[in-house]
Symmetry: C2
Subunit: 433 residues, 2 copies
């Protein structure tokens, strides 16, 4: 007998399969492919030794073992939050006492993704507005869709989000009476996923000023997703957007240990304005009343011994070589293709490739089929765009140098160029002679 | 300048601080107290050695280290899910091939709490109805409040939820046209938190029949929270409610490794009807795209070597002694108190103490103040009740033997009895002579 149908929630109906999940499965299931799609990290450099040492240390003493294996707190391990504050102060060239926040304003979560989700749940009601960059992080877009939020976008250039365009957006929202629905401005401000672009220093300061200025009846908050900050290969680190929020009132910043350390640990953290902490912990209490305490003790030890910092430095060397190799390969295989261009990431895991307008990179287009046949996978650029205004750009691609070995990068780009040429020849063949 | 106010979401406004959080903080902050309140586990028996061995094994081989430290999948580690299925088959005295579910129907989560939350998000809209036991697990009640769900309760006796009373509830909902809002029946069916009671075998079968019978236009699902199942001290294990759902259509069952292994690992899992899996993974993708992969590899190893089972057996010995000690102490210190009675848990972590009706155990009552002054803490029974119908019982208490050392249990009960006597004497003193 067929049972009565299951009635799902409205939110469940709004929640779709993430395209990134599809690509991760495809990469796992078809190992002959060279995947420039998966958001996985370099495998050889994963810090197995330092983590083994940290675990052995934590578990060797009965007291620390008990502390690590017992329940922790919803907010996260205090000694880890203390080290996080020191770490953040150093990164922004300040002393701990100069910071406008402290351990009470830090929350440790199951990756930074959980914090992005919780912030959404904390602030957003259906119909509220969030402004993101175009393109932006696709998983965040599915999260916003799930919460029935309206997404507006601001274009980017080599200096990241175009803050003048943001100001125009804000003015327009104000003039049309929609400012009361705007809750958040979201930016991946270091080596953005998917473009590799970084928000310039001048624009950071301006962004905070705009949030202040347009916080009329309620506060417009900035959500700074700094997941890739520590993966810088050239030049000097630039201050966080948070650095310009000198009263800890306008900016929430999320970080993760997944990219600079190990995704398997699945631990992230963030700084929030103090007023958000208690309501956030109430929500997180319902979700899980605290992320893995054992893993937090491991990371605490990695930070205490400095093994974490040694690892990040080594990791940047690994990724720098991959980035350089991919840049050379792009030059070699796409340098002669009119209309092709790519970003110049100074860190992170991604290049953003723009192909000539007639090459459709989309999931239903010809290029992705040809690329898979040739044995290379990329992420279609349109996943990073939101289809609320005008036509989507359909000739872009995200190329990750995260998990691919440095030896295979030139071959991957060679295959991709062959795929492009095959699509073009196919088109020529179907056109009248 | 005061910034504009933050506008929180409706859900955030509905989400309050968990009483369990308050008690966990109080226990941590006032260490002279003997806490019978905290839901923490026994510390001496935490499996530091087996976990250290498992980690050393996983990280010693470069391939398994890389697999454990890389991203995992949203659903959870396949080899762990395989072992979970074998474990569940054994527990319900079936072969894997006899089970109506397989690895595709298992989801691994950040503790079973996350799965309870995700199931709520998956199925429940504001105004929907969930039936729980009275009393029930308070953290689940706050979760339901956060989701703006209506909670109806069914009383319990020594055999757990009174299924005849459930049937009356269902009939009433049907006759009053409210059955279309009923989505879930929630039960903690082994050594319940907070009462220690277990649902009898006959009632398990009947519960599934009732869910089927009242699934008219849509399915009424049972949520079986089996967190304490493995902590059985006497008698033989009884089959899960899931065991009677022979088509895997009506019952969702959640388990955790926190209670039988280590809370710090923060890993739980559940079995869901197949149709729920894809929508569940879409939601979990937004939450975190997978719980800690590293921890899943550790647990996988503990199950593979059998260390997990050895640990559970030892743990049951530890808790059995504590349970016996608490039972004797209750007899010694409360046996002569007219109107006092307590449950007889055969497993789990809790006794449920009912005091004479004139003793108010509530958070604003006199007993909790007197108890803290005497140096003992319990959880007021009213936290386990929902104030939707009639007056709350105000003379009950949850006593946990989880974290308290066996040596301190008699002293804790002695102090509690003194607190009761002080409250009574205080009352006599204020009454007219």
């Amino acid at each position: 007998m067929t049972p009565a149908p299951i009635r799902f929630s409205h939110q469940s109906h709004r929640t779709s399969d993430s395209p990134i999940g599809y690509f991760m499965r495809m990469a796992i299931e078809t190992p002959h492919l060279i995947s420039l799609a998966a958001g996985l990290v370099d495998e050889e450099s994963l810090p197995a030794g330092p983590i083994a040492d940290a675990v052995a240390h934590v578990l060797s003493d009965p007291r620390s073992a008990q502390a690590a294996l017992q329940y922790g707190t919803t907010q996260g391990l205090l000694s880890l939050r203390e080290k996080i504050v020191e770490h953040l102060a150093r990164a922004d060239s300040m002393t701990v006492s100069e910071l406008p926040y402290d351990v009470r304003d830090i929350v440790v979560t199951t990756g930074s993704q959980q914090l992005l989700y919780l912030i959404g749940e904390l602030l957003l009601d259906p119909g509220d507005i969030v402004i993101t960059e175009a393109p932006s992080y696709f998983v965040y877009h599915s999260l916003l869709e799930s919460l029935d939020v309206r997404v507006l976008t601001v274009p980017m250039d080599e200096q990241g989000m175009i803050v003048d365009a943001l100001e125009e957006r804000l003015k327009h929202l104000d003039h049309t009476g929609q400012l009361d629905r705007l809750k958040l401005i979201y930016t991946v401000d270091y080596f953005q996923n998917p473009t590799g672009l970084t928000l310039s220093l001048a624009r950071r300061e301006r962004l905070v000023e705009l949030a202040r200025q347009y916080s009329r009846k309620h506060r417009v908050l900035i959500l700074e997703d700094a997941a890739y900050r520590e993966l810088r290969f050239d030049g000097v680190d630039i201050p966080s957007i948070k650095r310009f929020d000198d009263t800890n009132e306008y900016v929430m910043t999320t970080y993760t240990f997944s990219k600079p350390c190990a995704p398997g640990l699945k631990t992230g953290y963030g700084i929030l304005p103090r007023q958000l902490i208690a309501p956030m912990l109430n929500l997180k209490g319902n979700h899980d009343f605290g992320s893995s305490n054992f893993v937090q003790h491991i990371i605490d030890r990695l930070l205490a011994t400095g093994a974490y910092y040694q690892h990040v430095a080594q990791l940047c060397d690994v990724y720098r070589l991959k980035r350089d190799t991919m840049r050379s390969a792009l030059e070699q295989h796409f340098g002669d293709l009119d209309g092709a261009r790519w970003t110049e990431p100074r860190g992170g895991l991604y290049f953003w490739l723009t192909l000539p307008g007639d090459i459709n990179t989309g999931p239903e287009g010809e290029l992705i089929k040809a690329a898979i046949q040739e044995g290379v996978l990329y992420v279609p650029g349109e996943f990073g765009h939101v289809s609320v205004e005008g036509p989507l750009p359909t000739h872009e691609a995200r190329l990750s140098f995260g998990v691919v070995s440095v030896e295979l990068i030139p071959e991957a780009l060679r295959r991709l160029r062959i795929a492009v040429d095959r699509v073009r020849m196919g088109k020529l063949a179907t056109q009248p002679a």
